[in-house]
């Protein structure tokens, strides 16, 4: 593939002079490169992006950015210091390189680029981040639904100042206690579905009337004659009402605590809210790793190729680009010591390329698998639609083609703890495609990665114990030691004891308890 595009460009006459020749770059060069990429991105790929703000940083600053999850400003907490120390150690020892760029989902979209990058690498990262990721951030439905790119920086600024003012007023330690506890519950502090609006009086009245009308319409005196049965579980109306008042069951634990924990002060609720908002902001990124990287990698590959074809980058820089591109999309095989899970860049890029192939040169197999768009010719249109309306789980389920499964030689293992051997359930063959695709799609479903834990009930009449349920799937229970620690944090926030029941098919398979060490005041 790489060689093909090289040959093609060699045979074509150069249309314009190269943008740069050496490895050095300066600011005017960056804007020339940006404009050149922007033209192709707009005309050919039709990318729709937020305005960009490109910030050149040093490696020290990159380490700083790593520590605060890439954000330009963030509140202070020891855990960020811990990540900083860890990354710094790894970097200084040479065990870990630094990223070439970091891009932030905000408007204007902030792209950090490292000063050490060569001119080619700056071109690559601009194409990758300032166009690929930027388009994805602006158009994907997950981001549209859950994040507000224009206000995130203002919110982070508020959060930082608010946390600092709380530290001044209430002491670093009390703030740290709350943040520690909230961080522990961060993965369960997101809304996964658009919220249900509170009922207004008018709506409620109308619903009541509708129900009455329905009952009158279907009135039959015969029902009266049926004998009353004692069978069936009797519903406990008190508990139903209590749960309804508290909005239970609730899977957003931080939200529940922020609204309902009885012993928290206002500023503590606000801190929980800050952690929750930030968790929510990052939630779409967790759901779209493959797509986001696939989109960015495909975009940069296409943009760089076009630049090379038109002679705007030299053969030498194109080779340099290909070198780093191929190492980014390298997928080690499962028995390779370098293997550490599926590489989202590799999978995403392979799928995007395959969509293009299916749209333009489909085989009979593709036509049967993807009747909607096989051979439609508009590959970018199909991709833009995918980038806008899917997340990893649905994208893989919908677009992973047999060709990619064969190319990557994907196979599926089933590991049942009751069996003493692992079974190869399906491989990359006719019978296996759908099973592999389904299984891989579930592997990327954050709803399955995070255990499904919900606040189920509160013992309001008794000791105010908070009861949570973990809906166990496939017999996979929680890790006990960590769970106990999180429950301890949770109990500290709640102010009273908490209990977590792990329930599978109606049976409780495990239970964990937590008590507050000291209630926050």
């Amino acid at each position: 593939m790489a060689l093909k595009s090289l040959k093609k460009s060699a045979s074509e006459p150069s249309k314009s002079a190269p943008l740069f020749t050496g490895r050095d770059w300066d600011f005017p060069l960056l804007s020339r490169v940006y404009d050149a990429i922007g033209e192709i991105a707009e005309k050919e790929l039709q990318l729709d992006i937020y305005p960009n703000q490109i910030e050149v940083i040093s490696s020290e600053q990159m380490l700083d950015a790593y520590a605060s999850t890439g954000m330009p400003l963030f509140y202070k907490h020891w855990s960020f210091g811990k990540h900083f120390v860890r990354n710094e150690t790894l970097y200084r020892k040479g065990w870990q390189g630094l990223a070439y760029e970091i891009v932030i989902n905000s408007s204007p979209c902030i792209v950090y680029i490292m000063e050490e990058n060569s001119a080619t690498m700056q071109t690559l990262v601009l194409a990758h981040a300032a166009f690929g990721h930027n388009h994805f951030f602006k158009n994907n439905y997950c981001f549209k639904q859950w994040t507000d790119a224009t206000s995130i920086l203002d919110y982070l600024d508020f959060a930082k100042k608010y946390v600092a003012s709380c530290e001044d007023r209430y002491g670093q330690e009390s703030v740290e206690q709350i943040l520690d506890a909230a961080h522990a519950l961060m993965s369960h502090g997101v809304h996964r579905y658009p919220g249900k609006h509170a009922l207004d009086l008018k709506f409620e009245q109308r619903r009541l009337e509708e129900r009455q009308a329905f009952a009158e319409q279907h009135f039959s005196d015969l029902w009266r004659t049926l004998p009353k049965t004692a069978a069936g579980p009797k519903r406990d109306h008190d508990s139903d009402r209590r749960r309804q008042m508290l909005g239970l069951p609730e899977e957003n634990i931080l939200y529940f605590l922020e609204k309902n924990a009885p012993r928290l002060a206002g500023w503590q609720r606000e801190l929980i809210r800050i952690v929750r908002q930030i968790a929510q902001y990052f939630y779409p990124q967790r759901q779209t790793k493959v797509m986001n990287e696939g989109c960015a990698t495909f975009s940069h590959y296409r943009l760089m190729t076009r630049l090379h074809e038109s002679g705007q980058i030299t053969d030498g820089s194109f080779m340099e680009f290909l070198h780093s591109h191929t190492s980014v999309v390298f997928q080690p095989e499962y028995d390779d010591p370098r293997y550490s899970g599926i590489n989202p860049y590799a999978l995403g890029f392979a799928m995007m390329e395959d969509i293009e192939r299916i749209a333009t040169q489909p085989t009979a197999e593709d036509r049967s698998f993807f009747p909607d768009f096989a051979g439609c010719g508009d590959a970018y249109g199909v991709m833009r639609d995918a980038w806008a309306n899917y997340r990893d789980e649905s994208f893989i389920l919908q677009f992973l083609s047999p060709a990619v499964i064969r190319k990557q030689k994907l196979f599926r293992l089933v590991d049942d703890s009751e069996d003493d051997e692992i079974v190869v359930a399906s491989i990359h063959d006719e019978r296996g495609y759908k099973a592999v695709r389904q299984s891989l799609s579930r592997q990327f479903d954050v709803g399955r990665q995070d255990p499904d834990i919900q606040v189920a009930d509160v013992d309001l009449a008794g000791d105010r114990k908070l009861i949570l349920h973990h809906n166990v799937v496939d017999g996979v229970t929680l890790e006990a030691k960590d769970t106990a620690k999180v429950l301890h944090h949770l109990a500290n926030l709640w102010g009273y004891d908490v209990k977590l029941l792990e329930i599978e098919d109606g049976d409780t398979v495990a239970a964990h308890d937590g008590s507050p060490s000291k209630a926050f005041r």
Binding site: E55, K76, G81, H183, D415, E421, V486
Partner: protein, 434 residues
């Protein structure tokens, strides 16, 4: 699109977070630092460097699935020989897949902390002070300090003082009225204008003459002349430094077992560390003794055993001899630490005390006696009411306020640090024994 250069921004954005982390982990790091001291050689103890703290203390918990049990599904790339229905032996550790493990794949078994030497020592020796240090002496070797002392007219190009040279060049140019390039340029452009407009002929002629005159002047008077050159002058002065000699005296008779030696070693290590913090140069002299004393190297000191009686005075004599020979007390700060189980030949006690009082203590900055016990046996002092050793009693009589001597008993490894702290705690009155 904007491009912003963030490089000049103030760095150290993570400093506050790092400090918070340090505070959080301080107790753990402190403990790790003290543990680390046990496993190092005395001379290497102050290396700073990495200590490992258990990740537990700084672990951030979250709800996540356990590693075993249940039914799991994996999709892996790179199938080579499997067909569906194959059964594979379960690998020893998990299923060989990282996808279900921790979210970011980071192992968190323990956390390595890299401390600078100063951080290491700060943590180690918080609030301690070395008693009675003094005696600085001008030494011949390597004890010199370089400091700037004005300027000179010749020197190596590296020591050229550009600022001073330019200053002299400027004053010379002003004094000799070297033409200013700005003025010259102004005249030239005026000339060009006049010539273009073919204006006033006389003015053109004067301008030409003036320009030529000025240009000649500029050629004759150089911008920088060799007389302008100034070089930085560095003066080297010998610097008095404080040196310390640390005498480690240990009883190696058969009654001292490995445990006791280990205790002694830990104490000596601490003392060494402490001394290096205050003195640029610290010599250690190991003297071991049974009924006769010998100077040995560290390895032999701690690890070989000898049989014989115990005559402490032999070690004191040896120490006095070495000190007189190699470490004259007027040039060296002498510290001594003696470790023993206290079983001295009873007839020797009086002699040892006399030696201490008349020879050793007057020349020493500090003398510490550490009586090591046999593990938990001595911990039940109350029950068995063990008698004080004769040496202990003899030394105790010697103790006076203002005498640079202290003595303590240590039975267990964990007592070492507290005892050390007790001995060297910051206070006004030095060396006060109980």
């Amino acid at each position: 699109m904007h491009i912003i250069d963030r490089r000049p921004d103030p760095g150290g954005k993570s400093l506050a977070n790092r400090q918070r982390f340090m505070r959080r982990a301080r107790a753990l790091v402190k403990q790790a630092v003290r543990e680390a001291s046990g496993s190092r050689k005395i001379r290497e103890i102050d290396g700073g460097g990495a200590v490992t703290i258990p990740a537990d203390g700084v672990h951030e918990p979250s709800f996540h699935a356990g590693r075993d049990g249940g039914m799991r599904d994996y999709v892996l790339p790179g199938n080579k020989k499997f067909v569906s229905g194959d059964r594979i032996q379960r690998p020893k550790q998990g299923a060989g897949s990282g996808s279900q493990g921790s979210a970011d794949g980071e192992g968190e078994d323990s956390f390595r902390f890299v401390l600078s030497r100063d951080e290491f020592l700060d943590l180690f020796l918080e609030d301690l002070e070395l008693p009675n240090l003094a005696k600085r002496q001008v030494m011949g070797d390597a004890a010199e300090k370089r400091h700037p002392a004005g300027f000179k007219t010749s020197g190596s190009p590296a020591s050229l003082s550009v600022g001073r040279t330019m200053r002299r060049s400027l004053s010379r140019r002003i004094a000799l009225k070297r033409p200013n390039p700005v003025e010259l340029e102004a005249m030239r452009s005026e000339l060009a204008e006049l010539e273009a407009a073919s204006g006033d002929g006389i003015r053109i002629a004067t301008l030409r003459a003036e320009i030529e005159r000025q240009e000649r002047r500029a050629r004759v008077i150089p911008f920088i002349d060799p007389v302008d050159l100034r070089y930085r002058r560095i003066e080297v002065t010998p610097e008095p430094i404080a040196r310390a000699a640390m005498f480690c005296l240990m009883d190696v008779s058969a009654s001292m077992d490995e445990h006791m030696k280990d205790l002694a070693k830990r104490f000596f290590s601490l003392l060494y560390l402490f001394l290096t913090r205050r003195y640029k140069q610290v010599e250690i002299i190991f003297i071991r003794h049974t009924h006769e004393a010998k100077e040995v190297d560290e390895e032999t000191f701690f690890h070989s055993r000898e049989s014989g009686g115990t005559v402490i005075s032999s070690a004191l004599i040896e120490m006095a001899k070495i000190a007189a020979l190699r470490f004259p007390p007027d040039q060296w700060n002498i510290y001594a630490a003696q470790a023993s189980d206290g079983d001295n030949l009873s007839s020797d006690n009086a002699r040892s005390v006399a030696l201490l009082r008349e020879t050793i203590l007057p020349m020493s900055q500090y003398y510490a006696y550490l009586q090591v016990g046999r593990g938990d046996f001595d911990r039940e002092d109350g029950v068995f009411a063990r008698q004080e050793t004769t040496l202990w009693r003899a030394y105790q009589e010697l103790i006076r306020p203002n005498l640079p001597m202290a003595m303590r008993k240590v039975n267990d490894r964990r007592d070492i640090y507290p005892v050390f702290r007790e001995l060297f705690e910051r206070r006004d009155e030095t060396a006060e024994a109980r």
